[in-house]
Amino acid sequence: MTILDAQELSFSYDRKAAVVDGVALSVARGAIVGLLGPNGSGKTTLLRLLSGTLTPDRGRVMLDGRSIATLSRRDLARRIAVVPQETHSTFDFSALDIVMMGRYPHLHTFELEGANDLAIARRAMADTGTAALEDRRFAALSGGEKQRVVIAGALAQASDVLLLDEPTASLDLGFQFDIAALLSRLNRDRGTTMLVSTHDLNLVAALCTELVLLKNGRVVAQGATDAVLTPAHIRELYGVIAEVTPHSRAGHITVVPVGRAD
């Protein structure tokens, strides 16, 4: 069943060339969908349109059959959470403070977080392996720890859909592996629907059941990972010749770039 559905979405900054140009995509409930595309292809803008933090020039985004334009920011945040590429804290918030901020859309103006909110936040930290970081200063955490704390904050938001914008971009191989395992586990245990934008082809091969390929703001291909992640598409997207082969030990297809296409 479709939970998130974009219809003919278009958007341009400052009335210049469209960054997102007539995109149609649908995400099934409980799916992990990968969003691939070269730099400047409109991935981040598309995610912002889907989360409602940008308003499309044309087209609309439907969440469970309802246009998100009719929902308030607060209502929307209860349904869709976003994990940005990087998060910086200006002040000395602790990791738990950051996670507790995820409870914002569930509280009234003068309502304080209660025991229930704290329990939800603690569970989100346990689920992301960040329980031990609770009292640490967020700003002093490593990149991988920060990203897991931010994901915990998104979980504390208790939404059905999680949009992740290049969640592993600034992380080393070990942390990339941890985040992939974490997302896979959260999808399995909590049934969270995810849309993950990334440049990491092997990450999507391991993690995603479906892919959306984006170039110049348009959808190039969309479908099951094995069917869409082909040498022809990789060449079209990145101008790179790659070999795509099943890997028996990894249990999924793997991509090996071998050279630049002319």
Partner: protein, 325 residues
């Protein structure tokens, strides 16, 4: 914790009027057996000194709360009414009124507060444009430098206008620009209290939004904050605070930076504590600075702005280099 800040504020506000060139005793001030007309201690307390103490408390609170708001929205702990040029804008309004003798009262309110609001609002427009730029990714260093440039530009305008005035006008506006809490009486305080209370009430509805916005616009929006609405309410209120504070006490520098920092060191970053604590401690801080200003430098006293600058300049540098490490 907040109770401690409240108690400190109360103690300082009662003690401060007792300190001065004429020694008075608290027991005599509140001695109801002596009629007010014969009670010199009570007269000194209520007529000569208390208005000044209340003005200091009000102005200090206003600058401190405005500083907290600017710091959260621009995501920079060095942002404040003075570093962003909002104080200079408000001052420009006052200097224009003083120099060109625009003395006509508007709806019973003297022209000076009205002009400072207008000046602060104009400078706020520029700050708001900076905040929008910040949302689009302009670095906070650029914003602070823009604030420095704006302050310098408005300062030059101020001096240019002063040159146009005669000797008395120039002296008046120079005194004004040094910052002085020598208010005439309780009327000025009430005139400033109304917008300050309204602005604080409006900002008081947004502590959680300030927490989230300090993490970045995208992060705040995805957590459900209506950033544009919060930004409009908070920045308009902060400029109202700055305008009211400058109209009452002049552009007293550094209060909007020092106080939020000390408060955060004590209560942590949560704005539900930072806002009330900054309001209380901002008042306390400026009352203490004003006691120093009027007692420590002989009978002539010293503008309170000089005292806060002596303390604030080194503090600012310390903060800057501590952050730069």
């Amino acid at each position: 914790m907040l109770a401690a800040f409240g108690a400190l504020t109360a103690i300082v506000c009662v003690t401060a009027p007792l300190i001065g060139s004429t020694p008075i005793q608290l027991s005599r001030v509140f001695d109801r057996t002596i009629p007010f007309a014969d009670n010199v201690d009570a007269q000194v307390f209520f007529v000569a000194r208390l208005p000044r103490v209340l003005a200091a408390a009000l102005v200090g609170s206003a600058f401190a709360v405005a500083g907290v708001v600017f710091q959260a929205f621009l995501r920079n702990p060095l942002a404040s009414p003075d570093t962003l040029g909002v104080s200079s804008g408000a001052t420009l309004g006052a200097v224009i009124v003083i120099t060109f003798h625009i003395d006509s009262a508007l709806l019973g309110v003297s022209a000076v507060p009205v002009a400072t609001f207008a000046g602060a609002a104009g400078a706020l427009g520029i700050v708001y444009a900076m905040s929008v730029a910040r949302r689009r990714g302009t670095s906070s260093t650029v914003l602070l430098l823009a604030g420095v440039a704006l302050s310098a530009f408005l300062g030059a305008l101020n001096r240019f206008i002063q040159v146009l005035g005669d000797f008395t006008d120039t002296f008046r506006s120079i005194r004004w620009m040094m910052g002085s809490l020598d208010v005439g009486g309780y009327t000025d305080i009430v005139v400033a209290l109304v917008p300050i209370a309204a602005a604080c009430a409006a900002i008081g509805t947004l502590p959680r939004e300030l927490d989230l916005v300090s993490m970045g616009t995208a992060a705040a929006e995805s957590r459900g904050v209506d950033v544009r609405r919060a930004e409009q309410i908070a920045l308009v209120s902060a400029s109202l605070l700055t305008g009211a504070a400058v109209s009452l006490g002049g552009p007293i520098p550094f209060v909007g930076i020092i106080v939020p920092h000390i408060v955060r060191l004590i209560v942590g970053p949560d704005h539900r504590l930072v806002l009330p604590a900054a309001a209380l401690f901002g008042g306390t801080f400026l009352v203490i600075c004003d006691v120093i200003a009027r007692t420590a430098f002989g009978p002539a006293g010293m503008p309170v702005g000089a005292v806060t600058a002596f303390l604030g300049g080194p503090f600012f540098l310390w903060l800057l280099f501590r952050r730069a490490r």
